[in-house]
């Protein structure tokens, strides 16, 4: 999902290296697990295993980076939205994503990392973000497809995160989910307008679906057999459902929506299994996914460059804000003195 980079087996430093655990630590770990098992939330200053803290920092910060980088493909279309109604909706959605990034950075900071450390990791290319934001948005229909499919997939993953064992993350996710439901609906409405429009508009909608379908399925991360951290994260109740379970739910929910639009899912192997009631779908091209995670997607370089430029161009604003705050403090002191 937005944190799919966590699941890649090749990534380093994800799992704590095995070492001797003291008796006292074992007792603390036991008590911690009991609390998690009892669905008690863990709060910032509570004792937690190093691995739990590390996993959360990585997951929450990857999630935050995804929100921030996710503003770019859509921001591309704000000035070219076809009507004022579409424009205010897109503007509000992109603004929400900036807000979501902030909620998540704040949640990550409660675990003892600084905001600048996290942003530094994104700008240096060390930190991962969701593969989905490395695809281009060449047509207006892409904005519909992103809202419908990308936000749809995100919601599928994020709703269970509202019950995550770590309190600040769970609370941030509650806010995010509440705000995100309009994102998917505006996307679907946009697709509907195109699908019911001229032949050319319908062709645009189909083309966007063709390009976004498989990348959306990849958002759920590697299949369960390939996923490196699923079982520990499940035990810690950071994760509630496996990648494949969530992907299946997404397919089951989305196929009928595509049918309503009169569009075709670009998968010749897709069919409803009448017995299970689930859709069966074709094999995912994981080579493409892995290449994007490695930084070789169509837009990886462009996205990071845009973030670096924004950071560098904003330097004078950050400096001015500090200087202005200092001046105001001085003035207030003089007035008081």
């Amino acid at each position: 999902m937005y944190t799919q980079g966590l699941d890649a087996k090749t990534e380093q430093g994800a799992q704590p290296s095995p070492r001797l655990v003291t008796e006292q630590e074992a007792a603390l770990q036991g008590r911690f697990q009991e609390r998690v098992d009892a669905e008690e939330k863990i709060e910032p200053r509570d004792w937690m295993p190093d691995g739990y803290r590390r996993t959360l920092v990585r997951q929450i910060s990857q999630h935050a980076h995804s929100e921030i980088v996710g503003m770019l493909p859509e921001g591309n279309w704000i000035t070219r939205a076809p009507t004022l109604r579409r424009k205010v909706a897109l503007l509000a959605k992109v603004q929400d994503e900036g807000g979501h990034g902030l909620y998540l950075y704040s949640a990550a900071e409660t675990l003892g990392v600084s905001r600048d450390e996290l942003i530094g990791q994104l700008l240096s290319g060390k930190a991962k973000y969701s593969s989905i934001f490395n695809y281009p948005t060449p047509t207006w229909a892409d904005i519909g497809a992103i809202g419908w499919l990308v936000d749809g997939a995100a919601i599928m993953n994020q709703v269970p995160l509202c019950r995550c064992s770590y309190g600040p993350y769970a609370r941030a996710m509650v806010r995010i989910c509440r705000e995100e439901s309009f994102h998917q609906r505006q996307g679907y409405e946009l697709m509907l307008a195109l699908a019911q429009g001229t032949a050319e508009q319908k062709r645009m909608a189909q083309d966007a679906l063709n390009r976004w379908w498989w990348p959306s399925l990849m958002m759920f991360g590697p299949s369960d057999e390939q996923s490196a951290h699923s079982s520990q994260n499940m035990a810690w109740k950071i994760k509630r459902f496996s990648n494949d379970e969530l992907r299946q739910r997404f397919v089951d929910a989305t196929v009928p929506q595509a049918e309503f639009l009169g569009l075709t899912i670009p998968d010749p192997e897709l069919r409803l299994n009448a017995e299970t009631g689930h859709y069966e779908f074709g094999a995912i091209d994981w080579t493409e996914f892995n290449e994007i995670l490695k930084g070789n997607g169509p837009c990886n370089r462009e996205r990071i460059e845009a973030r670096r430029k924004a950071w560098d161009d904003g330097a004078w604003v950050r400096e001015a804000a500090v200087a202005h705050a200092a001046k105001r403090r001085q003035r207030a002191l003089k007035k008081a003195g």
Partner: protein, 96 residues
């Protein structure tokens, strides 16, 4: 990379409507309190979530230590006489 060590952390509290208390909603960094209020308005009240904002420097908050939880809060557990149900009143007595 320029850091923002001069931008302290503020905890943000929002009053959803008059008559209710301010409630903690999250935090943000800002150069000073005024900027914290401006940013909190943009970040935490985009959908009519509140009528009033408090921005409190996180460094000013004194918090109890979670490891003291037992010594602080357990003593209240065995004081059932602090609750109305501890007292036996005959069923015939009304309005009490």
């Amino acid at each position: 990379m320029m850091d923002r060590k001069d931008w302290p952390l503020f905890e943000i509290f929002i009053r959803p409507k008059n008559g209710l208390s301010h409630k903690h909603v999250g935090s943000l960094h800002a150069a000073d309190a005024r900027m914290a209020l401006d940013n909190a308005r943009d970040v935490y009240t985009r959908r009519g979530e509140g009528v009033s904002i408090w921005a409190v420097p996180a460094a000013s908050i004194a918090a109890s230590d979670p490891t003291d939880k037992a010594s602080l809060f357990d003593p209240a557990d065995d004081k059932v006489y602090r609750h109305p149900t501890f007292y036996d009143i005959p069923a015939d007595v009304k309005n009490i």
